[in-house]
């Protein structure tokens, strides 16, 4: 296909992606180095027959004029990145000097909102990704052993947790783990503690979110593995059986290696998806105990006063995180295809 023709076909999608994905990233970068204007304050003297008092008032006119002249705000460079709610270099340095042990240092760092959000996001990603892939694999093996007739309905029901809207699925689970809901009261009964609330403790909230994440992403792993299992070479399996390989040996040495490329693919996709975990935190109303990077940005944007600069700085840091996560893939692709 010639370049000109290619361009004509590709132009609509290229324009859409440039305007609404590439430009916003630039816009976020720009916003993150500007802070809102400070209000212009003037001192006025109020004189009454009993004497004069001085007071300061906001000069609305001048403030508006300043805003119109420089709509982005005042340039502050990297200040927003360095402040307490982002990278907090000052506080980290203090914690480093003041802390006696590593645990103490960790505790101090975890009081900083950005690091708390980062810690939750990474924990969620590191637990949910392997757990959901393992669960999906087990379900796929089990479904594969079913008679053909039963497979269709099983697949239908297994797909539901993944297809359902994330916010809605998380809400459904949240209502069940409510202390007056069925799972919540079951847990209370098991623990023998009538006042136990899963929502009130930070570790339990994290566990709940991870359980939700595994529940909602396992079906994807299941479907992909199930399709992969249909392509395992049957003659290899049969010759292994003739050689006396047990069931476990066959899974370990034939099925798993055959599914390895699928597994790397799924890890890549799921790491990208789990890094942006957001909706379950809204549904579980868990902002007080668990914040992800996405939720951190959302709470800046959704507040009464929209903290655009702060949200922009967090966004830039999040995008940087995504690029770090993707970098092994990008480097490998570059090595394989870039120079060839």
């Amino acid at each position: 296909m010639r370049h000109a023709v290619f361009l004509r076909f590709f132009l609509p999608t290229a324009l859409a992606m440039l305007t609404f994905i590439a430009l916003p990233i630039v816009s976020v970068l720009v916003q993150s180095v500007y802070a809102p204007h400070e209000r212009v304050v003037v001192e006025v003297e109020n004189c009454t027959p009993f004497g004069c008092t001085k007071s300061t008032v906001i000069d609305q006119e001048a403030t508006r004029k300043l805003q119109e002249e420089r709509p982005l705000g005042r340039f502050v460079g990297g200040d927003i990145y360095a402040d307490r709610s982002h990278l907090a270099f000052g506080e980290i340095g203090q914690a480093w000097r003041g802390a006696e042990t590593w645990a103490d240092f960790g505790r101090r760092v975890m009081t900083l909102p950005f690091y708390k959000a980062l810690a939750f996001t990474l924990t969620y990603m590191l637990f949910v990704t392997p757990l959901s892939i393992m669960l999906g694999f087990c379900v796929a093996l089990a479904v594969n052993a079913l008679p053909r007739m039963l497979r269709g309905p099983t697949i239908f029901f297994s797909l539901l947790p993944m297809i359902v809207t994330p916010l809605v699925g998380a809400l459904i689970l949240f209502w069940m783990v409510d202390s007056r809901g069925i799972i919540g009261s079951a847990v209370q009964w098991l623990a023998g503690d009538d006042d136990l609330s899963l929502k009130a403790s930070t570790p339990l909230t994290w566990i709940m979110l991870i359980v939700y994440g595994t529940w909602s992403t396992a079906p994807f792993a299941f479907v992909v593995y199930y399709a992969g299992l249909q392509t395992v070479p049957q003659d290899t399996l049969e010759s292994a059986m003739l050689d006396g390989a047990t069931r476990w040996h066959r899974i370990r040495y034939i099925v798993l290696p055959h599914l390895l490329p699928l597994t790397t693919f799924m890890f890549l996709i799921k790491i990208m998806d789990n890094f942006r975990v957001f909706e379950p935190i809204v549904s579980f109303n868990a902002g007080a105990h668990a914040q992800s990077l996405s939720y951190f940005i959302y709470s800046d944007l959704a507040g009464e006063t929209r903290l655009l600069s702060s949200a922009a700085a967090t966004s830039v840091l999040t995008v940087a995180g995504v690029l770090v996560l993707l970098s092994p893939v990008l480097v490998r692709t570059w090595r394989q295809f870039g120079k060839a």
Binding site: M1, H3, V5, F6, F9, F10, P12, T13, A16, M17, F20, I21, A22, S27, Q31, C138, V139, A142, A145, T154, I155, F157, S158, L160, I163, V164, T165, V168, L171, I172, W175, D178, I182, S185, W215, V224, A227, G228, T231, L237, L262, F275, R276, F278, S294, Y298, D300, L301, R306, L308, A311, S315, V316, T318, V319, L326, V329, L330, T333, F337
Partner: protein, 293 residues
């Protein structure tokens, strides 16, 4: 597999059976529970006395004279005007699917037929874009959209969702078009068609299976979206998912959480039908990229 099936010991069969039943319960039970509970009053669905009340519904009986009531649905759909959100969602979803498939088929076809290396790199760029969390993009939209007076309108949310959806659509459709033999449109070119005519008369008639599969995923993205629609739409243009989220904020205090339960069921029902009718396409779409790549 016939040999191994015959030889499988009974204990293993039992184990597989138990595992599967446990998984299926885990997958279905929450939905059944919520559907059942949506016809109760709050005091039964969130029962202080015991979970059995959610099944039998004594308080519902006391209040409405029957163990089932449609009060939650009436409250959500009529009093809180959930139907308005449903209409908005319908507009957004239909437009997003149509526009993103139009853009996607053109772009994906071009990528699949180009022999130059930049086609490959464009796909890699799309992959990077696919990995961007939508909320980071939203924080980039707000300021310009306020300035340009674009904030709050349905078309804005539609075009943003189309753009966010493009990387995925491109990947799926490119993979799909690569499976359509090149000879097909090349012979049309030899017969004197332009590239566009070849696309129009030769490719479009045979592309529907792939387009339907991709369209299903575009549908799900637009239908399930919360981030973009919650941040970019004004109150009267709200779609279903942000509407449910707003129920939680306002009605939980009034004791009308059942509105949210009823609307959650209303949102989930169409998705059930979708999976029921298009299970094959969804499964093939999920595995297309994975098994071949």
């Amino acid at each position: 597999m016939t040999i191994s099936a015959r030889r499988r010991p009974a204990t293993l069969n039992l184990l597989i059976g138990i595992c599967l039943i446990a998984w299926l319960l885990l997958a279905i039970f929450p939905f059944v529970w919520t559907l059942w509970g949506s016809f109760k009053v709050e005091g039964d669905f969130f029962s202080k006395a015991g979970w059995q009340n959610a099944l039998s519904g004594p308080l519902t009986q006391l209040e409405y004279g029957a163990s089932f009531t449609g009060a939650g649905y009436h409250g959500a759909w009529v009093k809180e005007e959930f139907w308005r959100a449903v209409l908005n969602s319908l507009v957004v979803v239909v437009c997003v699917v149509v526009v993103s498939l139009t853009f996607g088929t053109l772009g994906g076809y071009a990528l699949s037929r180009s022999t130059y290396r930049y086609a490959f790199w464009l796909l890699i760029v799309a992959l990077v874009f696919r990995a961007m969390p939508p909320i980071t993009l939203v924080s980039g939209y707000l300021l310009p959209f306020y300035r340009l007076n674009l904030w709050g309108h349905l078309p804005t949310a539609i075009i943003v969702l189309v753009a966010i959806n493009q990387p995925f659509t491109l990947w799926m459709l490119t993979a799909f078009f690569k499976n359509i033999p090149k000879d097909l449109d090349e012979s049309a070119r030899v017969d004197g068609c332009t590239q566009f005519q070849a696309f129009r008369h030769v490719i479009i008639p045979v592309m529907w299976p792939g387009v339907i599969t991709t369209g299903l995923f575009s549908f799900l993205l637009a239908y399930n979206d919360f981030v973009v629609t919650a941040m970019l739409l004004s109150k009267q243009n709200q779609t279903m998912i942000p509407k449910i989220a707003s129920f939680l904020g306002t009605t939980q205090t009034e004791g009308n959480v059942m509105f949210a339960v009823a609307s959650v069921v209303s949102v989930t029902a169409p998705l059930f039908l979708l999976v029921m009718f298009f299970q094959r396409q969804i499964v093939s779409g999920l595995t297309a990229g994975a098994v071949k790549g």
